[in-house]
């Protein structure tokens, strides 16, 4: 898949994979440095990356941007917490781009992403309309449940039944909470399961497995 960004050219597969790996923290240090150096020198690429990361959604106060927290963390690691806490000023970042030292160049290149991304956090909402690359999501706000809400709401029997019908395979969880209920029917052992001891028993023992009912 190749991401086409109107007015911003085509982002090639290798770059997209590199960005993806970078955000995941999977890109080796030497490749990260090369990537960030390229970003520091290429404004179009910075825009492509920002659009790929869907940073425009943040600008429109749509809070769900995959990986944005990790990206902030990586920016913080490279530049210091103050950059994350406060939107980056364009001219400051621009000055950093001119610095030749490798470490600062890396930091500046990370800030390049910050420039496109984090600085937009403080931009007027209307500015988001200029970003034609990202569809505007007019959906009402939905919020992810907090850990407390989740803990308070362990699945009820009815919800577990829905999950089973849906195909939830976490039988280990269900069985950890298994209680014998009246709805269960007591049945005779079906003879499909035998232990090694039973397997070696003689047919006279009446073991169904010996009668050839084993299902394997």
């Amino acid at each position: 898949m190749t991401g086409t960004l109107p007015g911003r050219g085509v982002m090639n597969e290798a770059l997209r994979m590199q960005i993806s790996a970078f955000v995941d923290g999977e890109l080796p240090d030497n490749e990260s440095e090369l990537l960030l150096r390229r970003l520091s020198q290429d404004a179009v690429m910075r825009q492509q990356v920002a659009a790929y990361l869907d940073i425009g959604r943040v600008m429109r106060q749509d809070r769900d941007v995959p990986g944005i927290d990790r990206l902030r963390g990586r920016i913080a690691a490279a530049l210091g917490d103050e950059v994350v806490a406060d939107p980056v000023e364009e001219e400051v970042v621009g000055m950093k781009f001119m610095t030749p030292a490798s470490g600062i160049a890396v930091a500046a290149a990370v800030a390049a992403i910050a420039l496109v991304g984090l600085s937009q956090l403080s931009a007027p909402v209307d500015a988001g309309l200029q970003d034609g690359a990202v569809a505007i999501d007019l959906a009402p706000a939905y919020t992810e449940p907090t850990a407390e809400q989740v803990l308070l709401n362990s699945p009820s029997e009815q919800q577990l039944d829905y999950m089973r019908r849906h195909g939830e395979s976490d039988i280990l969880f269900r069985m950890a909470n298994f209680e014998v209920s009246e709805s269960l029917e007591v049945i005779e052992p079906d003879g499909h399961l035998v232990t090694g001891d039973d397997r070696s028993a003689t047919p006279e023992d009446g073991n169904p497995a010996e009668a050839g009912t084993e299902m394997r």
């Binding site: 997209r16 449940p145 395979s169 052992p189």
Partner: protein, 326 residues
């Protein structure tokens, strides 16, 4: 050190660095050129046809559990034994869709029917994800899992209405040696990782027997609880997240005569089931979470609507809250 020798040392270091960078670049490019869709196909084939045994560590929402697994394909039918190494020593023995849950602490065996779902893995991405614009696929890097060479396949969503998947695939067979489901912030929701594994068709029948004697155990079976019939429905979701579409609509009639409508939506990777039934005396609303599955219930116009799926909470909330009769 003379100026000349210092210069030579620096030149040597530079040359080494350039070679290392070139090798790293080549390796990265070689990986980038591998087709993630091909790896998904290999994974799908391997999961459906590979016999193996090993030790699995499962992590779900901060809790971990070790399991011994024996998995054998016999004439296309899954024969499997999964034994918890902790807690109550639960053992699951599966022959096709017949599942026996052995609970040593309760001296009980529960017999269930399943519908092809995996005991270990949450639903894995299908090959169709290649054509799904809501996700990006990439082969990220090589590594070792359970002592075997593996490649890391990343399935990354473009929004926060679905989870990301990272799958370490055995380089030889394509079998998933480690799977991770990650939320929008990259936090691990679920991980299934083989600590050791051996692939072999030569697994004895005894390896699939119960590990304890079942003498004196009480056996239970859950009666058939509902009948499902395909229908057309006037229920629809006003506000589906991008990429989701209805893939099935059924009524499910329970033993007590209660009728429920079930609509399944899918984006090609994740599935969400919506259950709609008339409200009883007790209406419920709110979230529940089980592993990678979320559910959200809401009462609306005399109906109880619950959405369930391996998706973030906001997705089931959005879908359940926007179900309407047309």
């Amino acid at each position: 050190m003379s100026l000349m020798s210092a210069f030579k040392s620096k030149s040597l270091l530079l040359a080494v660095a350039m070679v290392a960078s070139a090798v790293a670049g080549y390796s990265s490019n070689a990986l980038a050129q591998q087709n993630p869709g091909d790896w998904l196909k290999r994974m799908e084939n391997a999961v459906g046809s590979t016999s193996y045994q090993g030790t699995v560590i499962r992590r779900k929402r901060g809790e971990s559990e070790a399991l011994k697994v024996v998995h054998k394909i016999v004439d296309g039918v899954v024969n499997e034994r999964v034994t918890s190494q902790e807690g109550n020593g639960l053992e699951i023995i599966r022959i096709g869709n017949d599942v026996h849950c052995i609970l040593p602490d309760k001296q009980s065996v529960l017999v269930e029917g399943w519908n092809n779902q995996s005991t270990l893995f949450s639903p894995l991405p299908q090959t169709t994800v290649v054509d799904t614009p809501q996700y990006d696929l990439s082969v990220l890097r090589e590594g070792r899992i359970a002592g075997r060479k593996a490649v890391l396949l990343s399935v990354r969503p473009h929004d926060s209405y679905r989870y990301a998947h990272r799958i370490w695939l055995d380089q030889d067979s394509g079998f998933p040696l480690q799977t991770e489901v990650l939320d929008v912030d990259g936090e691990l929701i679920e991980e299934v990782k083989f600590a050791d594994i051996s692939f072999s068709e030569d697994i004895s029948a005894a390896a699939l027997d119960p590990s304890i004697s079942l003498d004196g155990f009480t056996w239970y079976k859950e009666p058939v609880r509902y009948q499902a019939v395909d229908i057309e429905t006037d229920w629809a979701c006003d506000d589906l997240p991008a990429g989701f579409r209805a893939i099935s609509t059924k009524t499910e009639e329970g033993g007590a005569g209660e009728i429920m409508t079930r609509i399944v939506y899918s984006d090609g990777v994740a599935k969400v089931s919506v259950f709609i039934e008339t409200s009883g005396s007790e209406e419920k609303s709110g979230w529940a979470v089980l592993g990678a599955s979320s559910s959200f219930s809401v009462a609306s116009d005399g109906y109880q609507i619950t959405a369930v799926g391996e998706v973030p909470g906001i997705t089931v909330q959005r879908i359940a809250s926007s179900m309407r009769r047309q």
